[in-house]
């Protein structure tokens, strides 16, 4: 801090000659005008694609989840106490993925379906491991850049247009609940496979009340012919710019010459 101050003083004292004190860089910096700079935004919007979940449905979902996950949580707690206990845990724990990295990598491997040119029938490989439901505590995770790509990821990891991955955002404060139930700190992201017999009611509720993720600009994935054209989105930034004297001011020159 001290060093900086010294430097500043040095610089200003060397630049500031008494004659042009008004035009010194420091003075000029003070006078700034407001400008609007155009900026080209991404026409493929990433943020506003989260399916809506009404608070009533959300609370029901949380109840279901806490019931389902309690057995997994108990097992986790036991594991913590006795490290030698290396049992498989309840059946359901195989069908559930917890945490950002695990969920994302599972979804990415699902998305490989679209990459292979020779369309291998997706039903053949690991039907039971198809992660169809993702629960994200959207408002508990910050900054939003971490989860901003989840809608797109949910869309690209879907198997087919009719069998899409459901993305469920959970209200604020759910992260604490989930982590206490599972006894894993900071659990904000959960993935669930399609075939969990215990969760039949939960999935039915979700299927009925929560719409699929829709990413219009990726429709080409499932239907080669339909990919919409999106017009440019130009926004403005309100910033400031310094007021500088004109470099080649004809009027001023003329005046000077006349004098």
């Amino acid at each position: 801090m001290d060093k900086n101050n010294n430097k500043k003083q040095d610089r200003s004292s060397s630049v500031k000659k008494p004659a042009i004190a008004k035009n010194s860089l420091k003075e000029l910096e003070k006078k700034r005008r407001q400008v609007f700079k155009p900026i080209l935004d991404n026409p493929f919007t990433q943020s506003s694609q989260w399916p809506f979940v009404s608070p009533d449905i959300a609370s029901q979902i949380i109840d279901h989840l806490s019931f389902l996950l309690s057995s997994v949580g108990k097992h986790n707690e036991l594991k913590k106490q006795q490290k030698s206990l290396a049992g498989d845990g309840p059946q359901i724990s195989k069908q559930i993925v917890v945490g950002f990295n695990a969920v994302v990598s599972a979804l990415e491997s699902q998305a490989q379906v679209h990459k292979s040119i020779s369309n291998i029938s997706p039903d053949s490989n690991q039907d039971s491991q198809y992660i169809k439901y993702i629960f994200v505590t959207k408002n508990d995770i910050s900054p939003p850049i971490i989860i901003s790509s989840f809608p797109v990821l949910a869309y690209t990891s879907s198997r087919s247009e009719s069998d899409r991955v459901k993305l469920i955002q959970l209200p604020k404060g759910t992260m604490e609940k989930l982590s206490s139930i599972l006894s894993i700190p900071n659990t904000g992201i959960l993935g669930m496979a399609k075939k969990i017999p215990e969760a039949f009611n939960l999935f039915k509720l979700i299927d009925e009340h929560i719409s699929d993720v829709d990413i219009p600009w990726l429709h080409g994935l499932f239907d080669r012919k339909s990919s919409p054209f999106l017009p440019p989105v130009i926004n403005f930034l309100s910033t400031s710019a310094p007021i500088l004297p004109k470099k080649n001011d004809q009027k001023k020159k003329a005046k000077a010459n006349n004098d």
Partner: protein
Amino acid sequence: MAGSKNKESKSKVPKVVPQKDHYSRISYLLNASNLFSADSKYDILARGYSRNLDLVSKKTVIKLAPALKRSLCKKCNTLLIPGLTMSMSIENTSKKQSPHNDILIHKCISCNTVKRFPVGSNREYVVFSEREDVKITSE
């Protein structure tokens, strides 16, 4: 107070964008790149379009939104679509696993170039162009 100020500033916003054709061209190239990146058969073509996009924006000195710029790979210009051409992960190499060392990693699948966002260091961070008092969205 803030609301009125916002209104005032909104009225000053220029209605005409200079060199709009360049903006349109860049956006069109992005659309084209997206269209072809849906099929991995055409990934070179898609990359070519987005490379063109990048070059045009540099030559014409047009400001691109960070969201747009981040959707292109810096090295090979692939359009980064999570799941298809990009993989994400969160890395934390600290011994204590302290949350402020979280780093979000975006990795381009085709050239393995990695973009690292130190997400944990400032959880409240908002990109300058996305701040509420700065960004003015056109209708």
